[in-house]
């Protein structure tokens, strides 16, 4: 197995892919949006329960590759208790990480568990897998009516 592959499919990603956290629907009063990647057929629904400006609960359901599932799972863990602005700020940092615009080692503290995705930038075709859930969450928070597509 190549080192690059081990870095992409690290233990954190594999573990979350196998046992995704917050894999459930939220009930009434929650926001939800569908997202899909038409290139590979990945599909995700992200649910958010807001309390004022704060993300009180967040969950997801759907199907996708290990990278997309792990990303959705870790996203739901990180965002609970964050304000909308904090959630957006984290998404920006995550996006920069995936597109190689951010020094992962220098920003380790800010990224937290997201650091697990630092090697996705070496696999450009997989960046959309990692961002699908985040784009979908963004749409849910902004009340965008249209379903999210990576294309």
């Amino acid at each position: 197995m190549t080192a690059e592959l081990r870095e992409l499919y690290n233990d954190m990603i594999l573990e979350h892919a196998k046992s995704p956290r917050n894999y459930r629907a939220l009930g009434e009063g929650s926001l939800h949006r569908d997202g899909h990647n038409p290139l590979c057929g990945d599909q995700v629904t992200v649910y958010v329960q807001l309390d004022g400006d704060m993300v009180k609960d967040v969950s997801f359901q759907g199907q996708g590759c290990a990278v997309s599932k792990a990303s959705a799972s870790i996203m739901t863990q990180l965002l609970k208790g964050k304000t909308r602005a904090e959630a957006e700020e984290l998404f920006t940092a995550f996006h920069d990480l995936l597109t190689g615009k951010l020094d992962a080692d220098a920003e380790e503290e800010r990224l937290g568990k997201l650091i697990a995705f630092k090697d996705v930038s070496k696999f450009p075709v997989r960046v959309k897998c990692a961002t699908l859930a985040w784009h979908t969450l963004h749409a849910a928070l902004h009340g965008e009516a249209k379903a999210v597509s990576t294309e």
Binding site: L14, C40, G41, G64, A66
Partner: protein, 425 residues
Amino acid sequence: MSIPVLSEVSPRAARPEASPMFDVRRVRDDFPILHQKIRGKPLVYLDNAATAQKPRVVLDALQHYYTADNANIHRGVHLLSERATQDYEYARAKVRDFLHAADEREIIFVRGATEGINLVAQTYGRKNLREGDEVLITTMEHHSNIVPWQMVCEEKGAFLRVAPINDDGEILLDEFEKLLTSRTRIVSVVHVSNALGTVNPVKRIAELAHARGAVVLVDGAQSVMHGPVDVHDLGCDFFVFSGHKLFGPTGVGVLYGREALLEAMPPYQGGGDMIRSVSFDKTTYNSLPYKFEAGTPHIAGGVGLGAAIDYVQALDWEAVAAHEHDLLTYATTALSEVPGLRLIGTARDKAAVVSFTLQGAHPHDVGTILDQEGVAIRTGHHCTQPLMARFGVPATARASFAFYNTREEIDALVQGIHKVQEMFA
């Protein structure tokens, strides 16, 4: 119908060794791209259903055309234009020969199979479909043989009907027949399924459709690379294919249509080359095939496709069929032994395509890991989302073979799959 199908070549398959009649090593030498390393490993190209690689003669023809003959066609009085026109029209003659069409007027150059289907939908379809009419396709169609019909049906108030398939991925002919009604105007079916490899009984389908008075379009995008086609034997009214899947360049393809139908169809696009005379009061259209070829075409593409046809016509197709069948049997057997692997598409008549899912690993992950091993396959829904829904999977991994593939390459695929399983164990 001469495409190699399991049933036709099965006696040969019993041999333990690959076909000795077919010298795969020599054929591989004709394809420069195959001799390279991917991430330090020999390239194993198993994505031939997406696009086939090009033999040197095709690359040389493109180079020669642009180096020696390039000019615009059909109008110039100078020698280069004459040569370019000859090259292009000679390619059309080769296509006619390859498809066994009656006349070169029946060969329309288009961008690819997709454009060919859109052309028929927007000309024949728009002219002939009335409210309440029906277009009949099958569950295993590529999006390019679904969406153009949805578009014209919506415009005309016609209905799109879909013939079901069984769990092996074969059309249920009885059901198909029941869906043929007096309102069915057009039947459009795929010859070989890109996602399953199924070879459809298009000759029988054409007979049934014609008995009901419908015209028949056969999507040959995936069949032409597996052997020459005889449109008369198939009995179809339209046949489309893409050059790049026949070892030729991208951006050029062919629509074959029966002359009488093409004559009666309105033009597709307006512009230069498709007219006889233009005034602001009235334009008269050019004769076939030019009526459907507005604008400067992909001349080099046509020339390259001609060279590709020369190349495949020189192959011993009986030997090729035996070799491809051997690859299919070998791959099917090897993959069937992988625990947790489910083959999607197990039709009796199959081209050399294996589609599968792997328990515990998404096809996208399978593709990434195989790529690290130098093995190029396709993962996803293969532009057949309704078909994926029929099998209850979001996507599959697909290895598709050409005659230049080898058993050793299938071994590399299987070893790669074992690595996927290690990772996701």
